[in-house]
């Protein structure tokens, strides 16, 4: 489909939304710079290179690390389930859910982009279960029947006033413009849900192959409650989220949280080593880990493999001039911004996501901030080439230009008489002029000057 035109979608965005996104993204970018600078100083590049190398090492030895993780998780009493695509991942979760709870049961969820990627909530609801998002942003998104517009800050596009309106409409609290009042009201509502919950579902930020421990970073405490309060915890992760050793964690946690929100470390870092042991009082009785491929092994063997290094910090989105103006929804995919431009066509195919590759000025800011040094602009260029070859993107016609630029005599003639206006196909000029003035033709000045003096 040649329809994911981010530019067209962005025009439908309310200006207040664009303002919220720009302000917040710019704030995250500044905080990121400050924290990384004070943490690593001149060693920052070295730290990023080391992280990139570690992830590449994992990806190059993924099979071995997955087997090691499986073994060590089982030793910890974690039951593993493998899912090759979104459908089997949903089916696997549903099967576990059915074994432990009846329709109508409340399932509390920690924030997880993977569950968004495989559209898990819809599947659970379809079977009569009641999934409740417990991350504050995701909670608002769910109430609004909206989509997250950012992988770290799901309601980056909303204001306090928007949230107040939503909460009032759902009877969570009286309209208020005070963020703390709103947050406390959500907390109260969510506590009620945590008490009801029969199952908790969470994502995973890092899984340690060496020890079989699952690591989750969070700020709101909702992940701790989601993973420990209900008697059953289902953790879900993409197969690329492995780190070899616990010794890798300090680097990766610091890079992740600094790059995401400018925090040197988040309020909570959970290291989950299995379900409740016989001498423990807290924790779930049973813990499943669902490992989802969903295209990842295919991506790992292609030209966009480095995108699997991604630790989902969102720094590329925050710094991206296009994302700042377009907001996440314009990309029409769970993954937006520079990450999404590469990941979405790789997950869903160029046929459906072909035009999204155009939503980049190739400025390179994303690569500059990426904590694992993913060469995003290079991959966007490759994808544009692939989209064109597969006829999956709207083709812009440069044939006349290329033909002229291949024939210097004709080129010189055209430059003298019409500048580029005669060379470019008319449509691009028309489209250029819609937004800005077309330059005056003063190019002949150079060749005339050069000829006159020699």
């Amino acid at each position: 489909m040649k329809g994911i035109n981010v530019d067209v979608n962005a025009q439908r965005l309310a200006s207040t939304q664009a303002d919220s996104v720009r302000r917040a993204a710019s704030g995250f970018t500044a905080a990121r710079r400050l924290t990384l600078q004070s943490t690593y100083g001149r060693h920052l590049l070295q730290a990023r290179e080391h992280a990139a190398k570690t992830k590449d090492h994992v990806l190059n030895n993924l099979r071995e690390y997955l087997l090691q993780l499986e073994q060590n998780c089982q030793n910890n009493g974690i039951e593993l389930v493998w899912a090759k695509d979104a459908e089997s991942a949903r089916a696997a979760v549903l099967e576990i859910v059915r074994q432990h709870a009846s329709p109508g049961a409340v399932i509390v969820k920690g924030k997880s982009m993977l569950t968004e990627e495989i559209h898990l909530n819809a599947a659970l609801q379809h079977e009569g279960y009641v999934p409740i998002e417990t991350d504050l942003g995701e909670f608002v998104v769910q109430l609004d029947d909206d989509q997250p517009s950012h992988i770290v800050a799901p309601i980056i596009h909303k204001s306090k006033q928007d949230v107040a309106q939503t909460f009032a409409a759902h009877g969570i609290c009286e309209p208020s413009e005070d963020a703390q009042t709103l947050t406390l009201a959500a907390r109260k509502e969510l506590r009620r849900r945590f008490k009801q919950a029969e199952i908790g579902i969470s994502g995973v930020n890092f899984a340690i192959a060496e020890t079989g421990r699952l690591v989750i970073v969070s700020n709101e405490g909702n992940n701790r409650l989601s993973t420990t309060a209900p008697p059953l915890h289902i953790a879900m992760m993409g197969i690329e989220k492995i780190l070899p050793r616990e010794a890798d964690l300090p680097l990766f946690i610091t890079l992740l949280t600094s790059s995401a929100t400018g925090q040197r470390i988040t309020t909570y870092v959970h290291m989950i080593a299995g379900p409740k042991k016989h001498d423990e009082t807290d924790g779930p009785n049973k813990l499943y880990l669902v490992l989802v491929d969903n295209g990842r092994s295919r991506i790992a063997s292609g030209s966009c493999a480095p995108i699997l290094r991604c630790i989902r910090c969102g720094a590329c989105m925050n710094t991206c001039p296009v994302y700042r103006q377009a907001s996440g929804h314009s990309y029409r995919h769970v993954y937006s911004g520079p990450l999404g431009i590469v990941l979405a066509p790789n997950l869903d195919g160029l046929e459906t996501m072909g035009d999204v590759v155009k939503a980049s000025s190739l400025c390179g800011a994303c690569e500059e901030v990426c904590p694992v040094k993913i060469p995003i602009p290079d991959m966007i260029l490759h994808l544009r080439n692939e989209a064109l070859k597969a006829n999956a993107a709207t083709r812009e016609n440069w044939r006349a230009f290329v033909s002229l630029a291949s024939h210097p005599a004709m080129w010189k003639f055209a430059m003298r008489w019409s500048g580029l206006s005669g060379v470019l196909p008319l449509d691009p000029i028309r489209r250029w002029k819609r937004h800005r003035a077309w330059p005056k033709r003063e190019g002949t000045a150079f060749r005339r000057w050069w000829n006159d003096r020699s």
């Binding site: 530019d7 067209v8 962005a10 025009q11 664009a18 720009r22 001039p321 296009v322 700042r324 103006q325 590759v357 155009k358 939503a359 980049s360 000025s361 190739l362 400025c363 390179g364 800011a365 290079d378 260029l381 490759h382 994808l383 544009r384 080439n385 692939e386 989209a387 993107a393 812009e396 440069w398 044939r399 230009f401 290329v402 002229l404 630029a405 291949s406 210097p408 010189k412 430059m415 500048g419 580029l420 206006s421 060379v423 489209r431 250029w432 819609r434 937004h435 800005r436 003035a437 330059p439 033709r441 003063e442 190019g443 002949t444 000045a445 150079f446 060749r447 005339r448 000057w449 050069w450």
Partner: protein
């Protein structure tokens, strides 16, 4: 190398670049058959056409003579882009400031001073690919009486992006206007940059929206100090 945008629209920028190089003691040659480096089709995904144009550019400029380009993006195309297209980069290509500072090793500007002036500088993004850092600003700052003025979000792109400016015109112009808003906030009358792609886009926005600021290539500022 003149670049196709200067060949078509901005001859005076080419003249200024030659004047700067000659003033610093270089003998400049201008192969008359040059056209375009292939960047527009390359960024559009049309690598077949891009190879055609890049290959003839490489042939035309082959040899040991350094090729100096007054544009970060064309220089990046010939260095980095050619690596994607052919597996190897053109190593004798330099962006103008890079050549002046790193090859000619100029440490102070041997020109006249200008009338005291505050100037903002927009760094073209392809300087990232070239690893230019602040070389263009450093060169400009050598001009006596010229003061560079910082502005908010200076590291953000101007929204040109070649094909992006045409295909995603709404976003492109919004990004550009944000850049110009930040520059205008400083109250400068002039800002400089090092890529006529960015400047064509920003000048087009300035003209359409009647903004009170003038956009020039930094080599025009340098050449104005040469008597």
């Amino acid at each position: 190398m003149l670049t196709c945008l200067c060949d078509a629209f901005y001859g005076e920028v080419g003249i200024a670049a030659v004047k700067v190089l000659e003033h610093l003691g270089c003998k400049v040659e201008f192969p008359l058959d040059q056209t375009c480096c292939g960047q527009p089709p390359f960024n559009n995904g049309d690598w077949e056409s891009a190879r055609k144009l890049a290959a003839r550019t490489i042939e035309l400029f082959s040899g040991d003579v350094p090729v100096v380009v007054p544009s970060s993006s064309c220089a990046a195309m010939l260095r980095d882009g050619c690596r994607s297209l052919f597996g190897k980069a053109m190593s004798n290509v330099f962006e103008l400031s890079e050549f002046v500072l790193n090859v000619l090793k100029i440490e102070s500007w041997p020109g006249d001073s200008i009338q005291a002036q505050r100037v903002a500088f927009h760094r073209a993004c392809h300087g990232r690919v070239l690893g230019l850092g602040d070389s263009q600003e450093r060169l400009l700052q050598m001009v006596p009486n010229l003061r560079l003025v910082p502005f908010e979000d200076a590291d953000q792109c101007c929204g040109f992006g070649g094909a992006f400016a045409i295909g995603q015109g709404f976003l492109s112009s919004k990004i550009g206007l944000e850049k110009l808003r930040r520059i205008c906030e400083t109250g400068v009358e002039t800002f400089a940059s090092g890529d006529m792609g960015c400047l064509m886009h920003l000048r087009g926005l300035i003209e359409k929206h009647r903004l009170p600021v003038r956009a020039v290539h930094y080599c025009q500022v340098l050449s104005s100090t040469i008597s």
